[in-house]
Symmetry: C2
Subunit: 412 residues, 2 copies
Amino acid sequence: MKQSLLATKTLREAPTDEQSVNAILLTRGGFIDKLGAGIYSFLPLGLRVLRKIENIIRDEMIKCDGQEILMPALQPREVWDQTGRWDNFDALIKLKAFGDKDFALGPTHEEVISPLAKKLVLSYKDLPLYLFQIQTKFRNEPRAKSGLLRTREFSMKDLYSFHADTADLDVYYEKMTQTYIKIFERCGLGEKTYVTLASGGTFSKYSHEFQTEAEAGEDTIYICQKCQLAINKEIKEENPVCPKCQSDDFKETKAIEVGNIFKLGTKYSAPFDLKFKDKDGQEQTVIMGCYGLGPNRLMGAIAEVWRDDKGIVWPEEVAPFKIHLMALGDDDQVKKETDKLYDQLTSEGIGVLYDDRELAAGAKFAEADLIGIPWRLVVSEKTLAKKSVELKKRDAKDVKLIALNKIAKELK
Amino acid sequence: MKQSLLATKTLREAPTDEQSVNAILLTRGGFIDKLGAGIYSFLPLGLRVLRKIENIIRDEMIKCDGQEILMPALQPREVWDQTGRWDNFDALIKLKAFGDKDFALGPTHEEVISPLAKKLVLSYKDLPLYLFQIQTKFRNEPRAKSGLLRTREFSMKDLYSFHADTADLDVYYEKMTQTYIKIFERCGLGEKTYVTLASGGTFSKYSHEFQTEAEAGEDTIYICQKCQLAINKEIKEENPVCPKCQSDDFKETKAIEVGNIFKLGTKYSAPFDLKFKDKDGQEQTVIMGCYGLGPNRLMGAIAEVWRDDKGIVWPEEVAPFKIHLMALGDDDQVKKETDKLYDQLTSEGIGVLYDDRELAAGAKFAEADLIGIPWRLVVSEKTLAKKSVELKKRDAKDVKLIALNKIAKELK
């Protein structure tokens, strides 16, 4: 894309109404725009990042046999009464519409998917079943000062698994744990993200969270220095030693909860009478699991972790573009060669943001650092004299000269 | 995809709580599930259709230089007060959240994009600008009995254009008119959809709607039999002859409004003080246009138009799969050949739903007709004896034998 056409204005100064690092950097870089506390628009660059994260998640869910669906945000009170959560779910946004009827704006979808699954699951032959969606969710967050880490309207992937027995749930739950690890690796957070034990709710002793080490995190976790399992502060007291390796050598750190998975058991299938006929023709209650992951919280977490004093440093697989191409000076030959390079790279399917504007080199460089595209490619009279272009990794100090005819190969 | 794994149960009978043809067929075919009046879940087959429609629209918007963004559904009252629509927009769903603050659930986004554009448009150099989103919208519809044609929560593409003057708006508006015609053609509705003059609102005498001829339509239009321009009933009285060709030969018909485009002028830019500096450094108010199109209403319209007494007949570009493959009988060789064919077609990137279930031929055929995939491909002992498979177009009476080694070529 040519930058002269891009609907983005970067900001030299931090916005005055943001406190969190991720919101400041994402606003300055032209990725997001705040409409109200915890409510953001995604601008073209920001939506590209969000969609890349969503597509990584979608890809991995499909590999785990997930089938994608889309459930409504508007949820009638009746289904929330069925589980008793109309009165007990703290962050539920409620409204009246269509002639004074009560609705919730879905913060989660157990109350919708459980009755839906009743229509899809009749016998053991229909199990296991894995359904997921990537859908906008809403929460009545009293405080929303953490940028994309805690918003009132947000994208969420939620997968629900349906099983004939707990052994089958256990196998899938472990598979999903490994899949989550892979997703965080692909998003560039692998080394900073820990599988973390947290309180389990009604059905299992512990649930698993995925916590990314970061100053901005709202959670405190204890990372076992021997086996790398982490423990959420909420269950640390009852676990003086690591439940996996028995070490008592922990590192305490702040962390962002980027995902969580739960064994729900029959917590939601029972109230909706979600049953199946087993091989003997006996009715059994379906066993459920749920697996949540928020693409825009993940985007905020990436911005918190991958940054320096100049701006964001996007990991390659989630970056809005792979290459930030620019010509320096106003020499016609330079412009012509850069245009040619742009056409060549885009025709090979490489994502390129082409800074084709008439701006001083310093201004272009500063804006490129702020936006944080992984590779900067500069064409100038100096580089052309050597039949080359200058390539620089966003977070590297040094540039490297690459021969013009070897660029595409280098960037593959 | 193998049908044995697909999360779908088709229904032999019409659901008792639906009146509209599209909702009955889409529910019976396992595309959608009703959560409440005007509120639907999209099941795997239905989401595939919806995404295909959305992607056609997205593709055409990008060709018109549209840049995709995503704006919030939760919109603070203040922006709606700014245009006076908090009290005057009939179908606005209102709610209180975050400590008794007033919010609207966006039925449209002029109130969000106008202040947003203020941050992106400073001078004439930033114009024209085209921003679009495909986002969930909400309307407080009192009656919601028309299936996907009129829902309370729905997917909507809205593009907003920003111009320095009305001449520039006029050119883009005409380009968008042609683009809409192309979108409806790609969705299989080209021959049934008419550019229709309707009342224009405050800024222009007429707006343009796109109306698809169908019994289920809520609108009445008059199609000029000479030039094919249509006129909405609401402005028929003031137009006794066709405004384009002066003919008075009209055909009256029911129609579904599948899209509409408006010249907004300064209606929304003025209240938000959306201005730009022109070439002489003078401040001018930005001229706007908006262009709406609802993917799930379009899906409903397609189901109304493309059907017979057995079910839906999906146009190829929006069909959930291109091929419905099935083996008849329980012969091992037949099963083996069909498996091979499935692998071959999918590896060539052709979308195949493979009915690998153990069911009688009649049941498989009936379900295939109900789901409505464009091509049915049947393998049996009889066809294999001729080294062939049987190909049938969904709405054709006759089948055709195709040699096994020519299938892929035939289906490209």
